[in-house]
């Protein structure tokens, strides 16, 4: 079955991102496919490659990147939410004349249409938030 996941909360602040990750992992183990994870609102903070959590803690952004790399999952940050919170990819860096980008591997920035598409194209869309 094809699943879409919506994450509305940032890492380390709320359980949503952990729940979403563990759900995605279990779904893959059960033979399902994750079509896309859409990060909205504070959820866009899951996509920073500059995070350096303590070594004995889980690395939430890297964990998403690794899962996406291994299972070909599309990780999308909402562009409007990303701009507000300073999440920048190379294109946005140029467009908004910033001096750096900070997006983690396998994440990309796009619009809300990607969330709608995830709802249309998948069998189930499940939301994790506060």
């Amino acid at each position: 079955m094809l699943f879409g996941i919506l994450v509305n909360e940032g890492p380390y602040q709320h359980q949503a991102s952990d729940s979403a990750y563990l759900f995605a992992q279990a779904a893959i183990e059960e033979g399902h496919t994750i079509f896309r994870v859409f990060f909205y609102h504070d959820g866009v903070n899951n996509g920073t490659r500059l995070a350096t959590p303590p070594q004995d803690d889980r690395h939430i952004p890297n964990r998403w990147s690794e899962l996406a790399e291994k299972h070909n999952i599309d990780l999308v940050l909402c562009v409007a939410a990303a701009q507000r919170r300073g999440m920048v990819d190379p294109d946005e860096m140029k467009r908004n004349k910033k001096d750096a980008d900070n997006i983690a591997s396998k994440f990309r920035i796009s619009g809300l249409g990607q969330l709608i598409e995830a709802g249309v194209q998948t069998d189930r869309l499940i939301t994790f938030g506060d």
């Binding site: 699943f3 729940s19 189930r124 499940i126």
Partner: protein, 100 residues
């Protein structure tokens, strides 16, 4: 239809609202802080017991364990499932309502 609730009923009223609106033969899964709603001897226990005549109730085991709780603390007939069980419920139910 599958409903998930993620807030403690002692913090927010989303579980009570869900119980009021949920249709018969639906499935309700308590995750994150909502697992506190599955405890026995609380002021929401009666509402849970009433709901159980019409709906099937599940609680996410890892979230229960993370809060130092186990099946001995729970109202009877609430099934404890893991993330694989969560995935199964999502696959079985065509529609999902995530109460946030």
């Amino acid at each position: 239809m599958l409903h998930t609730v993620n807030k403690s009923p002692f913090e927010k009223n989303s579980l009570e609202t869900c119980l009021r609106l949920i249709e018969d033969n639906s499935t309700l899964l308590l995750i994150e802080d909502a697992v506190y709603g599955a405890l026995k001897n609380t002021n929401i226990e009666e509402k849970i017991l009433n709901a159980q005549t019409n709906i099937k109730l599940y609680v996410l085991g890892p979230d229960l364990k993370a809060r130092g709780l186990d099946k001995n603390s729970l109202i009877t007939n609430i099934e404890i499932i893991d993330y694989k069980g969560f995935v199964k419920l999502v696959a079985e139910n065509e529609k999902i309502q995530n109460w946030l």
